[in-house]
């Protein structure tokens, strides 16, 4: 194990130890703040329930990622190809992030219903921005000398895109995707809070209403693990595709 990983693990264990000691020392009741050990027990014992709801949230996130990729990649490419389009659309992109996703959630539930669609769209809205902006920046960072080489070879825009711009921007794309997948859980969970029939956000709201704080924490733990796994998966995919780095 690397030193940096050892330090990170030590910090986590230290925080958990302080938390556990404080809860026991001050006799804090479980419905206010359960101990980490209790949360772990619930997370394991209630695994089938958490897994069932986690699968719904996971599916929402995965479809959200797919949808945002379908929108972000062509849009960033078109904005790069036509600078006037970039100027025209940039304010809308910024506005899409300036409006809090919490404000949009009730509207999306009204428009798209209590099913999976509203949550998918919430997740997609959150992921869309970092991917679009990162990819666009990646395209723009392409070296002028390389662009000139392709022009001298007589390459048109799309051929240059395929052979130069896209591979060049891939590290930026993956950086945006990594940010996107980690924040995607926020969109899906907020959507589930507002109105849903399943999912970890829905489970958290139900448990919270019954003062089952251990279950709320267990759901948070599962959500964190989901985010971490997706981040790691994107990292593996990145290393497989960008082999030249």
């Amino acid at each position: 194990m690397k030193w940096s990983s050892c330090i990170a693990l030590a910090v986590v264990l230290l925080i958990l130890a302080i938390w556990e000691t404080a809860c026991r020392g001050f006799s804090i009741p479980d419905f206010i703040l359960p101990t980490p050990s209790r949360i772990m027990v619930v997370a394991v014992l209630q695994a089938p329930l958490l897994l069932r709801h986690g699968a719904i949230t996971g599916l929402e996130i995965l479809i959200g990622i797919g949808l945002s990729l379908l929108m972000a990649v062509p849009l960033a490419t078109l904005m790069f190809a036509h600078r006037s389009l970039e100027k025209a659309l940039a304010p809308f992109l910024v506005v899409s992030q300036a409006v809090p996703v919490f404000a949009l959630a009730p509207l999306l539930v009204i428009w798209l219903g209590y099913g999976i669609a509203s949550k998918v769209l919430m997740a997609a809205i959150i992921i869309f921005f970092p991917i679009t902006v990162s990819l666009l920046e990646g395209y723009k960072s392409c070296g002028n000398d390389y662009i000139m080489l392709f022009r001298l070879m007589g390459a048109g825009f799309w051929r240059t895109w395929r052979l130069l711009y896209w591979p060049w921007a891939l590290p930026y794309f993956f950086a945006g995707l990594k940010v996107g997948v980690t924040v995607a859980t926020i969109g899906a969970v907020i959507g589930e809070w507002v109105g849903a029939q399943g999912g970890l956000g829905y489970l958290m709201i139900q448990a919270n209403a019954r003062l089952n704080v251990e279950m709320v924490f267990a759901a948070i733990l599962w959500l964190s693990l989901m985010g971490l796994s997706m981040w790691a998966l994107v990292g593996i995919l990145e290393r497989k595709i960008i082999r030249w780095r």
């Binding site: 000398d145 000139m148 392709f150 001298l152 007589g154 052979l163 130069l164 030249w244």
Partner: protein
């Protein structure tokens, strides 16, 4: 073969060159040397259409053109190899871009062998030395299949030994592949070792200050008396240009 007449380029009030003339013979090796910032690279940019000319004519094989894009191969100081492609894929890039077919790969493999890259075809550029990368860039330049080759300080980033070996490869372009070469360099000795004709340029606005025709056989040695004499003279000329600019 290439005839440049009255070529003018200005950036606002700055005149880079005004009424610049050049006449390149077929299968010749012409080298431009001049002080830094005199406009040599801008001249290549105008020739290749990277920046538009303000005035003047570019005539290639008796055809009047606005630039030489699509007519000349161009090699720069940086090798510009794409790290996601192997060496052979990089060399074949001009073919991929122009969708040409035929026996391009066979030709590329032959050139790899000829330029000492045999066995490294499937290596990524980041796994080979700077000299090998530059040789691969040279193969890519040859794959353009243009008779005219523009070389903008192609060897300046290399160490002395690699540079020497690549100089002999540049001579091959002329003798074996019948290319017409126009090269920019800061290295006067390199110019004298390679060129049939050395053109010494002035500061901006750039003009041909002096012309040296070298008829001695190649490969040459840098310690030949005649070359040493010319080298000293050119260096004095360039120093005078720099001193004049500083005043």
């Amino acid at each position: 073969m290439l005839f440049v007449s009255n070529l003018t380029k200005k950036f606002g009030d700055l005149t880079v060159f005004d009424g610049f003339n050049l006449d390149l013979p077929r299968n010749g090796f012409t080298v431009l040397v001049g002080p830094s910032g005199c406009g040599k690279s801008t001249f290549f940019d105008v020739l290749t259409g990277v920046v538009p000319k303000a005035n003047g004519e570019i005539i290639w094989l008796e055809e009047k053109l606005s630039h030489l894009r699509g007519k000349a191969a161009y090699m720069q100081q940086k090798d510009l190899l794409l790290p996601w492609l192997t060496l052979i894929e990089n060399a074949l890039l001009p073919i991929k871009v122009t969708k040409r077919s035929g026996n391009a790969e066979k030709k590329a493999r032959f050139l790899f062998k000829r330029l000492g890259l045999d066995g490294f075809e499937n290596y990524p550029p980041q796994k080979v030395s700077g000299g090998m990368r530059q040789r691969c860039a040279l193969v890519r330049t040859l794959m353009f299949e243009h008779e005219l080759v523009l070389l903008d300080e192609p060897l300046s980033a290399l160490d002395a030994i690699t540079r020497r070996s690549l100089q002999s490869i540049l001579l091959l372009l002329q003798s074996e592949f019948n290319k017409t070469l126009l090269m920019i360099t800061h290295d006067v000795e390199e110019a004298l070792l390679l060129a049939d004709e050395v053109l010494v340029l002035s500061s901006q606005p750039m003009q041909i200050r002096e012309r040296f025709v070298l008829n001695t056989l190649k490969p040459r040695q840098g310690d030949e008396a005649q070359l040493l004499k010319i080298k000293l003279h050119i260096l004095q000329e360039l120093q005078a240009e720099v001193a004049h600019e500083m005043v």
